[in-house]
């Protein structure tokens, strides 16, 4: 045995910072592209940003008036500065911080809004309220998706859950005359779709994508069938639900800008805030979430510590369905006082995109859905205040924005390890 025993190699592993030129490159490209707008199509006049909803609001804020083209140029200049900062940092081997990206995006947005709304008034409250409204069903849907996938079951059936939720809410809401029962019915409908998904995916090991896709078709078939054979002829009794009323929350709704956007909403939107918070908190800070994530990451490991994998999956897939079903209720208890055939129009797929975009995290998925809602409504507002772009291109905007965001900024993302895998015990 040797006499000298000493460490020759240090225990610590070296760390280096990985620098990627992606951020500065994307910044540069967007800065140049954006600069082309005020350059090639300079806009006359001023842009007015209105910060109150109406003249009747309790607290009045003056309109924000800025000269359109100069503001755009200022933003371009600041974006160029941000690009240079990102470039220098990358060259120094340090990654660009998140705040720089946020600042950049805000500049891009402000510049674009100023340029595009030349000579018009941009109602900020309406822009944001509409975004939230468009995002709400997507958020519910995406949360349902997050829970499903986090417990290891891919939920392509969000669309089915939204649609069946919308249908049941309209039906039960009409029959009982109260939106609350409509909401419960929507949750039950979503839950039942989740149950079918669970039976096939968990008990019969059927490929989860198959079940999801097929459920979407099935629910379109069923709702349209019953809509046209039963509901459409009896609109007054079967398809005219009482809607949730807008409730202003005292004090909070008086906060300038944010108040009317966030706190003059229907109960369903407030429920959405609560559900997002609960799901986030529950997922990361409670026993329920810990077990759920364990089952989705490594079902066998969960099994070895006494967690019932199949039962956990069943329960949570149904819970996920119920949450997505609430999103369905939004269609017929908030947006529109009637059910219409295929009225969710593919929102479930957008919710699916939002949850992947949001990396299977409830908060990020919510933000992704909000981004989508914002882009959609921005398109709407611009088509109203007059834009030189054909309507079809405006309608394309949210999808293009999402495409760029996903491909440019987000990139590779890692789903829960066991998502999509059936758990077959020995």
């Amino acid at each position: 045995m040797s006499a000298v025993i000493e460490p020759v190699v240090s225990d610590e592993q070296r760390k280096v910072t990985i620098t990627s030129w992606k951020v500065p490159a994307i910044f540069a490209v967007f800065t140049v592209l954006f600069a082309l707008m005020p350059l090639l199509a300079p806009r006359e006049g001023v842009s007015t940003f209105r910060l109150v909803r109406s003249a009747a609001a309790a607290i009045q804020l003056p309109d924000l008036v800025v000269p359109s083209n100069p503001t755009a140029w200022v933003c371009v200049a600041l974006m160029a500065v941000a690009t240079v900062v990102a470039f220098l940092r990358t060259r120094a081997g340090r990654p660009s911080p998140l705040w720089l990206t946020i600042v950049y995006v805000v500049l891009l947005l402000v510049g674009f809004l100023a340029w595009a709304s030349a000579g018009a008034t941009l109602p900020m409250i309406g822009l944001l309220t509409g975004s939230l409204a468009l995002a709400t069903p997507l958020i519910f849907g995406a949360l349902g998706g997050v829970i499903g996938e986090r417990v290891g079951v891919v939920n392509i059936a969000i669309e089915a859950q939204l649609l069946s939720g919308a249908f049941s809410a309209a039906l039960v809401g009409s029959l009982t005359g109260t939106p609350w029962l409509g909401l419960v019915a929507a949750m039950i409908a979503g839950l039942l779709v989740g149950l079918v998904l669970a039976v096939f995916a968990i008990t019969y090991f059927v490929n989860q994508i198959i079940v999801g896709v097929v459920l979407n078709v099935l629910v379109v078939g069923l709702t349209t069938f019953f809509f046209s054979t039963v509901m459409a002829d009896n609109t007054a009794t079967l398809n005219s639900p009482e809607l949730f009323r807008v409730i202003s929350i005292p004090v909070l709704s008086e906060i300038p800008v944010i108040g009317p956007v966030l706190f003059q909403q229907t109960v369903l939107t407030y429920l959405m805030y609560i559900v997002v918070a609960i799901v986030w908190y529950g997922l990361y800070h409670t026993r329920w979430g810990l077990r759920l994530r364990a089952v989705g990451e490594h079902p066998q490991a969960a099994d070895t510590v006494g967690i019932k994998v199949a039962a956990t999956r069943y329960a949570n897939v149904m819970l996920a369905g119920a949450i997505a079903g609430m999103g369905g209720a939004f269609y017929t208890l908030v947006s529109n006082p009637q059910f219409g055939r295929e009225m969710t129009g593919g929102a479930g797929y957008i919710a699916l995109a939002a949850l992947i975009f949001g990396k299977w995290d409830p908060i990020r998925a919510t933000l992704a859905a909000l981004l989508f809602g914002f882009a959609t409504n921005l398109q709407g507002v611009f088509s109203v205040i007059g834009s030189p772009v054909p309507s079809q291109f405006m309608l394309m905007l949210p999808y293009v924005v999402t495409l760029f965001a996903v491909a440019g900024l987000v990139g590779r993302s890692r789903p829960p390890a066991a998502s999509g895998q059936p758990y077959i015990k020995g």
């Binding site: 097929v214 078939g221 349209t224 079809q392 993302s413 789903p415």
Partner: protein, 410 residues
């Protein structure tokens, strides 16, 4: 008869029966039966005669039974007449015309199903059939309606334009996935919607796709020289698009089962890690497979605009088939032959659905319900066996899942 005489070993019939009842064929047939039963529930409960008869069910229950029988048998008979054989028609040609209609409807489903199935085999979930079909329609439609080319060449160029357009559209998703790692599900969903509005714009713009002198968002009719010829004469609508679909099936079969490229694509689909370690470029494979898949879906778009709807088309020429294709691919277990079969089955349902609606006023959606239930039941043999109390085969087949690459997760 003594106990010793009674079948010391199971009779041959018994063995055969057992094989049939536990085998895949039985499951398929029983799945269809189950789905049709579910469909008949829908038909019966919404039928007016049934409803009124049920109103006095306790007074005369047989009326209800008779009404249910009338409603359901009428509907399914109409379905059969519309999809397979119509004994009421005059002349054999007219009687078998429904069959050719079924093949016509099957054409785009087969082609698009191949596009989805091929991507599955390489581990990608191509949910972008809609966009690819729309772009293919735009490409083929532009050439077909607005270019002046000689006979033969015109059709060829139009077909190629459509296939290439579909391939490019899917290729964008493949490229972005390969370059940035973005998830193909998001990419293809977004590209669907972008294609939708891009086509809407082209259809509303003179000089691109809008028919000259018209205000409607529709193209002009296709030129005669660009049309896919009818296969069985003008009495039948079945056109050469079906041949294209068969060629696509053969090509895809060769690609997957025989070619080296397909070998690499399958390897990537089954195990991208092993493929990479064996020198196969995973990212390049993603681009290649999406381009080919898009081209196959493109065949569906081409056959629609140059064959099925030659009178010019509008913005929903895809008719949801990009999504139907997923079901077809799944039912066909992502194998070219399976997709051919599944496509024809669904085509038949589609053809029959129209006749059922026209003859019995049963909404088309019953067909959607029946189709989706078939797929579900076929995917879960133990469930079907349990419902019919069939014996479990010795080797559990339940876990024999489709050949979709397992890497496909969302």
């Amino acid at each position: 008869m003594s106990a010793a005489e009674t079948a010391p070993k199971p009779s041959r019939w018994h063995v055969a029966l057992r094989q049939i009842t536990t085998g895949g064929a039985a499951i398929s047939v029983l799945s269809v039966v189950l789905a049709l039963i579910a469909g008949s529930v829908l038909i019966a409960i919404t039928n007016e005669s049934v409803q009124s008869a049920a109103g006095y069910f306790f007074a005369r229950p047989m009326d209800t039974v008779a009404a249910v029988w009338d409603a359901v048998s009428g509907a399914y008979a109409a379905l059969f007449r519309g999809a397979v054989f119509n004994p009421n028609a005059s002349g054999f040609a007219a009687q078998i015309r429904p069959l050719t209609e079924s093949l016509k409807f099957a054409t785009p489903l087969i082609a698009a199903g191949l596009g989805v199935g091929l991507a599955f085999r390489a581990g990608l979930f191509n949910i972008g059939g809609q966009g690819q079909m729309l772009m293919a329609a735009a490409g083929a439609g532009y050439v077909g309606a607005y270019l002046d080319l000689p006979v033969g060449l015109h059709l060829l160029v139009a077909v190629v334009a459509g296939v290439v357009a579909g391939g490019i559209w899917a290729g964008i998703a493949g490229y972005l996935k390969a370059r940035t790692g973005a998830h193909e599900v998001i990419l293809t969903i977004m590209l669907n919607n972008i294609a939708l509005y891009l086509l809407a714009w082209m259809l509303a713009t003179q000089g691109i796709l809008q028919a000259p002198g018209s205000n409607n968002p529709k193209t002009a009719p296709m030129a005669e020289t660009a049309l896919l010829p009818n296969l069985l004469g003008d009495r039948f609508n079945l056109h050469a698009g079906f041949i294209l679909a068969l060629v696509a099936v053969a090509f895809t079969w060769w690609l997957l089962e025989r070619s080296s490229l397909g070998f690499r694509l399958r390897a990537v689909g089954e195990n991208p890690h092993a493929a990479r370690a064996a020198g196969i470029s995973v990212s390049r494979s993603y681009v290649i497979v999406m381009v080919i898949a898009g081209g196959l879906v493109g065949v569906a778009g081409v056959s629609q605009v140059l064959g099925t709807v030659p009178t010019g088309f509008g913005g929903d020429i895809d008719a949801g088939m990009g999504f139907d294709a997923i079901t077809v691919a799944l039912l066909g277990r992502s194998s070219p032959i399976g997709i051919l079969g599944a496509g024809i089955l669904f085509g038949a349902f589609k053809a029959g659905g129209f006749s059922m609606q026209a003859a019995e006023q049963v909404p088309n959606e019953v067909v959607l319900v029946v189709q989706s239930l078939i797929v579900l039941f076929i995917a879960a043999p133990p469930l079907v066996r349990a419902i019919f109390r069939l014996p479990d085969p010795a080797q559990p087949r339940a876990r024999k899942r489709g050949r979709h690459a397992k890497a496909v997760t969302v």
